[in-house]
């Protein structure tokens, strides 16, 4: 189990990660989604103890990373964005080094290396220099290194980036296989990829969490409904009453208000309905002028972009 509480990382005045809190339960596969520069890698680096947070705590199976780093790190296998490979070692040498680094007993080392090479299908290249491997194989050797010592928790930073489509499918399959026996936190900036393998998705942008739900719920919210963004002047209770009259409205989400006296909100309806006129008349009836109204794009990718870009503005 990974518990992240109020995590902050500041570089000068810029907060790369800003008061982030979440929990990854044992056995779950959680996707970490966000555009480039959202703070995904920084967060992962803090969870694995590579960099120290400015504020906040990371608990790995209840062990505080800053208090007992060596003990906490024993349970984690980490595949960073760029696999940390020594170009001048052979694959087997490298994995043997990692096994020793992770303090596997001498007797088990060879077997463990053999098994992980088998699982990640890197046996064919075991005697090749890492420098001469293709990107896909490098990624797999990195994954093999993370898996060595069978840690309970795997943290994978964009494991499929830079791979060709068939390699992506292979890695995805491997992750699915691993998810049976591991807790996995996996990051990506591609929505489909994450929703294909994850039990839960955390969307972050500019270091802040903007959504955390199961892929089904997120997809439901994003795909099957149509969002209308509204800015209406008036009291919240009045507007609520007006909206209640429109039966087609499924969900109302109040956003942060930008203007004084006005209320920002997004209302969702079934995809094939257009209730803009109904909203207009309802609001007119209750004497609440509509300042802004526009339809939101609702493809999965667009919804994700809308979510992340809205935060950014």
């Amino acid at each position: 189990m990974i518990e992240v509480k109020d995590l902050v990382k500041r570089y000068g005045n810029h907060a790369a990660v800003d008061h982030l809190s979440f929990t990854v339960d044992t056995g779950k596969v959680v996707g970490f989604l966000g555009p480039n520069g959202a703070g995904k890698s920084t967060t992962m680096n803090m969870i694995t103890g590579y960099i120290a947070p400015t504020e906040g705590t990371v608990l790995i199976d209840g062990i505080d990373m800053s208090q007992e780093p060596e003990k906490a790190k024993e349970n984690i296998g980490y595949l960073p964005e760029i696999p940390p490979l020594y170009q001048d070692l052979r694959v087997r040498e490298y994995l043997q080094f990692v096994a020793e680094l992770k303090k596997l007993p001498k007797k088990e080392r060879n077997l463990a290396v053999y098994n992980t090479m088998k699982e990640t299908k890197t046996k064919d290249v075991s005697e090749r220099l890492i420098r001469h491997l293709s990107k896909g194989y490098k990624q797999r050797v990195g994954l093999a290194a993370a898996m060595l010592g069978s840690p309970d928790i795997l943290i994978l930073d964009e494991p499929t980036v830079g791979l060709d489509p068939s390699q992506i499918i292979e890695i995805r399959e491997l992750i699915r296989e691993l998810s049976k026996s591991h807790t996995i936190l996996l990051s990506s900036h591609i929505m489909q990829e994450i929703s294909a393998v994850c039990d839960e998705i955390i969307i972050i942008n500019k270091g802040k969490m903007i959504a955390c739900d199961t892929p089904d719920n997120l997809t439901k919210a994003m795909m099957q409904s149509r969002g209308i963004h509204l800015v209406i002047r008036g009291e919240r209770s009045k507007i609520k009453e007006a909206l209640n009259k429109i039966t087609e409205i499924g969900k109302v989400q109040y956003d942060e208000t930008a203007e004084d006296g006005a209320i920002d909100m997004t209302v969702y309806t079934e995809r094939d309905q257009d209730i803009r006129e109904k909203i207009f008349y309802a609001m007119a009836e209750f004497d609440c002028p509509i300042l802004e109204m526009h339809l939101l794009e609702t493809s999965l990718e667009d919804a994700f972009l809308a979510l992340t870009q809205k935060e950014g503005q």
């Binding site: 960073p80 170009q87 020793e100 680094l101 303090k103």
Partner: protein
């Protein structure tokens, strides 16, 4: 620690640096041994070593440039620092790997006095070996300095040039300090300037203007008050301080055949301080 140690040694020999270092090291010492002992007909191996302590200025940067900088550059430090091993152990493993590689060269040199002894009568083995011990310790201290500089950067080239300049300055330091006038005013002025530099460095490390300004002002006040109260205190003070850093002059004892415990402790503490600084640099980087 052992894992890192073995990996480093393996990398030294798979990337040729290990062989290049040993070859260069042995060739230079071989030439000097030939010139002094074989061709010159002198039985004192300690004099040979004494005259080539400059070797470290060139050789140690080659050996230490990649040790931490390359890990920073290739991001392989992510593997090391997220493994269940403390940073202290990682750095010690690396340090001992370089020292061992250097030790291989020293072991070969250990044969030279024996070879000379086979053909000459005035070869004093105890002197020769005490100077080899000193030579080894001097090299170890230089390795620690090189490793520290390597930990400050991501570039092997900068690490190599930085170590080269630092070691060269340390090598030339005793000559340079003899040029500084030893009168109290000059010495006091220079001490004041150096203190300002120290205050500036603390600012760049801590980004805390209050502390740095206080440090600077109080330090300067103390320096100048002391000067007016008792100026004799400053006579050749700076020279004495700087000479502590002139590590190669300490080797003179060894080349005279004196196995001086002070110097052994001096070299070992020098190495210790720089290994410690390396560890602290890496720990600090995690927070920035």
């Amino acid at each position: 620690m052992l894992a890192i140690y073995k990996k480093e040694l393996r990398q030294y020999f798979s990337s040729m640096i290990g062989f290049v270092f040993l070859a260069f090291f042995l060739v230079i010492i071989g030439i000097y041994t030939w010139a002094y002992n074989l061709s010159g007909g002198i039985g004192n191996f300690e004099e040979t070593l004494g005259s080539i302590s400059f070797l470290f200025v060139i050789l140690i940067p080659i050996l230490t440039m990649r040790i931490v900088a390359e890990e920073n550059h290739q991001k392989t430090n992510q593997l090391l620092y997220t493994a269940p091993v403390s940073i202290t152990k990682i750095i010690l493993g690396k340090f001992f790997a370089v020292v061992s590689l250097f030790g291989i060269g020293i072991l070969v040199i250990c044969l030279y006095p024996l070879i000379l002894n086979m053909y000459g009568t005035d070869v004093r083995l105890s002197l020769a070996y005490s100077s080899i011990i000193g030579f080894f310790l001097l090299g170890t201290a230089c390795i620690a300095i090189g490793m520290f500089i390597s930990s400050l950067t991501e570039s092997q080239v900068i690490a190599a040039v930085g170590s080269f300049i630092t070691l060269l300055l340390m090598y030339l330091l005793s000559n340079l300090t003899s040029l500084i006038p030893t009168d109290a005013l000059t010495q006091c002025g220079l001490t004041a300037i150096i203190w300002l530099a120290i205050a500036a460095i603390t600012y760049s490390l801590m980004h805390n203007p209050t502390v740095s300004v206080l440090l600077g002002v109080i330090g300067e006040a103390v320096i100048w008050i002391l000067y007016f109260v008792k100026s004799s205190l400053y006579e050749s003070l700076l020279n004495n301080i700087l000479n502590v850093l002139a590590i190669s002059t300490k080797f003179d004892d060894f080349s005279l055949g004196i196995l001086n415990y002070d110097t052994i402790v001096y070299y070992l503490s020098f190495a210790f301080v720089f290994v410690f600084l390396t560890i602290q640099t890496i720990k600090k980087k995690r927070f920035s």
